[in-house]
């Protein structure tokens, strides 16, 4: 529903900005680089880099930004430890819990493979390595 045609001699409406959805994700360059990484190991390594940690202060006003960068330097050892711990837990899950689940759901997968081969293949493709 639009109003009648605008007058020819009136100024054109000014360009409007973009909403958050239209803009896409708002992340720093270092973080975008880490997120684009397909290998989990590389992702963890990039998340440990000082550049990544430092970039969390990006976009703050002056003074606040420098103070945050100072705080981020202080917590950097703890951050590295945290990321290593998360990576260890990630690995531990795939070594202990995952095989159990894999074994537990074997009959279900076998049933799907036998009775719904297309669906099974589609799901496999969905979770295949990109």
């Amino acid at each position: 529903m639009t109003a009648a045609a605008p007058d020819p001699d009136e100024p054109l409406p000014p360009q409007r900005g973009l909403t958050r959805e239209e803009r896409g994700r708002d992340v720093s360059e270092a973080q975008a680089e880490a997120e684009a990484e397909t290998s989990k190991v590389q992702q963890y390594l990039k998340a440990m880099s000082p550049k990544y940690v430092w970039s969390m202060a990006e976009g703050y006003p002056v003074v606040v930004k420098q103070f945050l960068q100072f705080c981020l330097i202080l917590i950097y050892p703890a951050w590295v430890f945290g990321v290593l711990f998360a990576a260890a837990m990630h690995l531990l899950f795939y070594v202990t819990v995952y095989p159990v689940l894999w074994l537990l759901f074997w009959p279900m997968r076998a049933y799907q493979k036998k009775n719904h081969p297309e669906e099974y293949e589609a799901t496999r493709q969905k979770f295949a390595k990109k």
Partner: protein, 301 residues
């Protein structure tokens, strides 16, 4: 001495005070006494646009994501207050006022409100004529406000299909309206049609009006939250039997407030109006169904 009594030295009066798009307004600038050492006197027509933005760092940074993660549940968090209200001036037309020999003693300018003008409200925009006098001393700034009201013929409104905002869709909710455009202070008379696709427990239906400010600033990062208001929840009926394939019609009357801000789009933000209907099943495991219907509100008859 007048050290603390700083009259700006110039006043801007705009007539008429209330206008519709495509109508003309006249600004008259008067001065207490002629202002000297003037290099330029500019009158700018436009509006102050209200919106919300995120000032605190990047919106999707790792720190923000961590703040929302499960192990921070129950913690105070650090993201509160990261978004705030702001306003920016959007200029439409600039007019140079006559300056004779470096002296300015008043002037006037006429302006036709454009057809795309957003309506004036505390939520979206405040229209004014701003005077700026550049001079070899303290500059003089003054402004005069006026109100732009939106009528049915000036409305720019993109109809959006009704959206389900909650529930599994076991009962279809349709908000049937005689029109999609309503005037401030008007009572919306419509009906809700409930169409169950299975035998459900008895239902209770409520409805309310709401408006939301969607921020889309040109430069700053838009805020996600805030800038909305909703009316009182109106209970429409309790113990409504919902049997498979038997549609039920529930009439409603939702009064809009007298001072409802009109629907509109500006440079940095957009104001949208909607009606939201919620159906609560009496059996709590069946949950709710919720539907939002976008409407448009104008404030000139």
């Amino acid at each position: 001495m007048g050290l603390f009594k700083r009259s700006s030295g110039a006043q801007v009066a705009v007539t008429p005070e209330v206008v519709s798009p495509r109508q003309a307004v006249q600004a008259t600038v008067t001065t207490d006494k002629p202002i000297d050492k003037v290099s330029a006197a500019t009158l700018e027509w436009g509006y102050t646009n209200f919106y919300r933005y995120r000032w605190a760092g990047r919106a999707d940074s790792a720190a923000v994501q961590m703040n929302d993660s499960w192990f921070m549940m129950g913690e105070v968090g650090t993201d509160a207050g990261s978004e705030k209200n702001a306003e920016d001036w959007v200029g439409v037309t600039k007019v140079e006022l006559p300056v004779a020999g470096g002296e300015f003693s008043g002037g006037s300018s006429s302006f036709t409100v454009p057809s795309w003008a957003p309506g004036s409200s505390d939520v979206l925009a405040r229209w004014s004529a701003r005077l700026t006098i550049d001079r070899g001393g303290r500059d003089v700034d003054a402004s005069g406000d006026f109100t732009v009201v939106i009528g049915r013929d000036n409305l720019e409104f993109d109809d959006e299909p009704p959206a389900r905002t909650g529930g599994d869709g076991e009962t279809d909710i349709e908000i049937a309206l005689p029109s999609l455009v309503f005037c401030a202070g008007e009572t919306i008379n419509g009906s809700i049609v409930l169409t169950p696709h299975a035998d459900m427990s008895d239902g209770e239906v409520v409805i309310y009006w709401g408006h939301r400010l969607i921020s889309h600033p040109l430069v700053r990062t838009p805020a996600i939250g805030g800038g909305g208001k909703s009316g009182p929840t109106i209970k429409l009926g309790k113990g409504i039997a919902l049997r498979n394939g038997t549609p039920v019609t529930v009439p409603f009357a939702v009064p809009l407030p007298e001072d409802a801000p009109p629907t509109g789009t500006a440079v940095h933000s957009t104001l949208v109006w909607f009606l939201q209907a919620t159906l609560h099943y009496s059996k709590w495991t069946q949950g709710i169904e919720q539907v939002r219907r976008q409407i448009a509100v104008v404030n000139a008859p």
